[in-house]
């Protein structure tokens, strides 16, 4: 456990700079977007009221009230979510390959550490999870600030206020990141971490068998996805929808645990016996 925590801390320290810059970029764009869109709206209102002499009621008839949703669905917001997601995906590969690439082959030192090699795997996996959840948590905290900023800029008469919780559920994509219940949260992120573990094991296949490993890894990845979602299509195609949705969710959780366990087991096996520096 101590070795795992040390390795996790080591990975977190390596991540910190990357994460800090990313957070600055993502939330900088979001705040800029909030200001630009809110100011754009207020200047249009001012234009109609001052230059064209429309009353408040007439302006509301033209535009309606502005809500924070208009910012949430804008490119400033969605674009940053995309940037964050892409960065996490990029880091999933970077966290392994940077140990092999560069002047000194760091992987050699890492694997020579007097600890069980599974700790290396688990520390990297935990780092990706923490990185993702940090974005998710910071978004909640910063959204509060962004909503406040919006309320400072747009006059009360022309806006309809949303809570953080409502703002986070303005699209299906956001609903996936911030589900209603904690149980759904665990399912969504549990599936996410399983998929990351599958990618990790794919990377380890490639690092173990090189070009041949890419094909083995692809085969393994496809098989894992098939097993993960097997309760749904087996029920649909072979069992004529015998199971109820709640039963399927429980089976999906079981499949998730099996795929995650297999990925970690295989990853450990490859790290221990087959990995090449």
């Amino acid at each position: 456990m101590k070795s795992y925590l040390k390795l996790l801390n080591f990975e977190m320290n390596r991540l910190a700079k990357f994460l800090f810059i990313l957070i600055l970029v993502v939330f900088g764009i979001q705040i800029a977007g909030t200001v630009v869109i809110s100011l754009g709206f207020t200047s249009e209102i001012n234009d109609l009221m001052i230059r064209q002499g429309l009353t408040e009621e007439e302006v509301l008839n033209v535009f309606g009230k502005m809500t924070f949703q208009q910012i949430v669905i804008s490119v400033f917001f969605f674009g940053t979510i995309f940037i964050a997601a892409t960065s996490v995906l990029f880091y999933i590969f970077l966290i392994w390959y940077r140990d092999w690439v560069g002047k000194n082959t760091f992987a050699y030192r890492l694997l020579m550490l007097p600890t069980n090699r599974i700790n290396v795997y688990l520390a990297k996996l935990s780092t990706i999870l923490i990185m993702t959840l940090t974005f998710v948590a910071l978004q909640i905290i910063l959204l509060k600030f962004e909503i406040q900023l919006f309320e400072w800029i747009v006059p009360e008469a022309f806006r309809e206020d949303l809570t953080v919780s409502q703002a986070l559920r303005q699209s299906i994509e956001m609903g996936l990141l911030y589900p209603y219940t904690f149980f759904e949260f665990l399912i969504n992120y549990g599936t996410g971490i399983t998929l990351v573990a599958v990618i990790f094991t794919f990377i380890l296949f490639e690092r173990s068998y090189r070009v041949k490993g890419i094909f083995i890894g692809i085969g393994y990845g496809v098989l894992s996805i098939l097993v993960l979602f097997s309760p749904f299509y087996i029920n649909d195609l072979l069992l004529n929808n015998y199971f109820y949705t709640d039963e399927l969710i429980l089976m999906f959780i079981m499949a998730d645990i099996i795929v995650l366990g297999s990925a970690i087991f295989l990853g450990h096996y490859l790290l221990k016996n087959k990995i090449r520096i």
Binding site: L8, N9, M12, N13, A16, L19, I130, L133, T134, V136, A137, L138, I140, I141, E160, D161, L162, T163, V164, S165, Q166, R169, Y178, Y180, T181, F182, F183, E184, F185, I187, L239, N240, N241, Y242, F243, Y244, T245, D246, I249, L250
Partner: protein
């Protein structure tokens, strides 16, 4: 410890951010108020089966502070308030407690395996539970057969009947009824034309529960359109699609093409009555006798659309905007048997179109104002359509009397 500060900070932000968010959502959900239907007069057994699907809002002008969009969806029964967002995911997927779906899931969970229990093709009476489905070939785009499954509640036996279809193109099941030992499956078949439906036919498949075989197929009614005509046969749905009915009623309409667009546009706004149709007739099939007759409506109701149907009577909303009159037409007696005038509270609220909602079942009207406020002027009334007497009247109120709120009742459902 010093060298761990970055990790500890990141993990703390993560745990506190997400933890606070979900704890806050949980506390908000728990703080939602309970409601009850407080009996003013009458027999409470009339509402033991009722579920009022509603939306609770704290302030109709603004969004609420809890979670979902504008309000919280709640299911109000005689003695229970169930908020959707208080349910666990698994509980919600089983079906909202105390609703029809959940009732079926709990009572007949093995019967409904492999069956879509949310469709219209389910029948239930004291002795039988029946479901029927079309076996559809998605590759060929054709209906290939009818699959009937039924449970005899007395002996607990489940039987299945598979009947292959030979030449049907497209078939949908409209209704199921049982007459003695015979299962009646009402289905509609149509053939397409580029500009609409060319031919529509109402079919009746009769299955014998003793032999589990098809007895006959009857063509109840057929309409064929000329090239510039639009035709449609549709069944009148009642508020309890699964219940035994005395009659199954079809509406047949025919319209010239140039008016089709007008009909569709008008219909989209739920105001089909204004369109002059070339032909607009009702046909009633009597389940007990197997006879089909054209409904001979009086002049005052002819060409109007039926507002409600309960399997025996047709209900038409008449009267001016500010008064609610309900003409009850008996299919058995072929005449208007009653005209009710229902008193209700009229709110000046623009959020919901219409001020009241009503549902009919088995000769009773279940009526309530759409809007419920803290003024305590919203009632659930059950009215006997034969006598016009109010057999139950209850007030919809919060458990905590000082609560300021607005609630919109979206629909009335029956559990069984």
């Amino acid at each position: 410890m010093k060298k761990y500060w970055k990790s500890i900070t990141i993990i703390l932000i993560t745990v506190l951010g997400i933890g606070t968010f979900y704890i806050q959502s949980y506390i908000s959900a728990l703080s939602l108020p309970d409601f009850k239907i407080e009996t003013v007069e009458g027999d409470e057994t009339f509402i033991e089966n009722i579920v009022l699907v509603s939306e609770y809002v704290t302030d109709a002008e603004n969004v609420d502070e809890y979670g979902y969009g504008y309000g919280q969806i709640l299911y109000l029964t005689e003695d229970n308030t169930i908020y959707r967002n208080q349910l666990s995911l698994i509980n919600e997927m089983k079906g909202i407690p105390e609703t029809r779906e959940r009732f079926l899931r709990d009572e007949y969970s093995s019967f409904f395996r492999g069956i879509n229990m949310w469709n219209e093709s389910i029948y239930e009476d004291e002795q039988y539970l029946v479901s029927a489905d079309i076996v559809y070939n998605y590759y060929r785009g054709l209906s290939e057969g009818v699959k009937v499954k039924y449970l005899n509640k007395e002996n607990g036996q489940t039987e299945s009947i598979d009947y292959p279809l030979s030449s049907n193109n497209h078939l949908i099941i409209d209704d199921i009824q049982v007459n003695g030992d015979t299962i009646l499956v009402f289905a509609k078949q149509w053939t397409f034309r580029e500009d609409g439906h060319a031919k529509e036919a109402a079919y009746l498949y009769k299955f014998d529960m003793n032999t589990n075989e098809l007895i006959t197929t009857e063509e109840l009614y057929v309409v064929e359109a000329e090239p510039d005509q639009y035709v449609d046969i549709s069944i009148l749905h009642d508020s309890k699609s699964w219940s035994p009915n005395d009659y199954v009623v079809y509406r047949s309409i025919m319209q010239r093409d140039e008016a089709v667009q007008e009909y569709d546009v008008e219909d989209e706004f739920g105001d089909g009555e204004r369109v002059q149709l070339e032909d607009n007739r009702l046909f009633a099939y009597e389940v007990a006798t197997g006879e089909m007759k054209e409904v001979n409506l009086p002049e005052s109701l002819r060409d109007r659309f039926v507002n409600y149907f309960d399997g025996s009577n047709l209900y038409y909303v008449t009267g001016d905007v500010d008064e609610l009159k309900l003409a009850v037409y008996s299919l058995k007696e072929d005449k208007i048997i009653n005209e009710l005038e229902i008193e209700y509270t009229k709110y000046d609220n623009a959020r919901m179109p219409g001020y009241y909602m009503l549902t009919v079942d088995d000769g009773y009207v279940y009526f309530h104002e759409t809007l419920v406020t803290d003024e305590g002027t919203s009632f659930l009334q059950v009215i006997d359509t034969t006598t016009g007497e109010i057999v139950y009247k209850g007030k919809i109120v919060p458990e905590k009397s000082d609560l300021q709120f607005e609630m919109f009742i979206m629909r009335t459902e029956f559990q069984y």
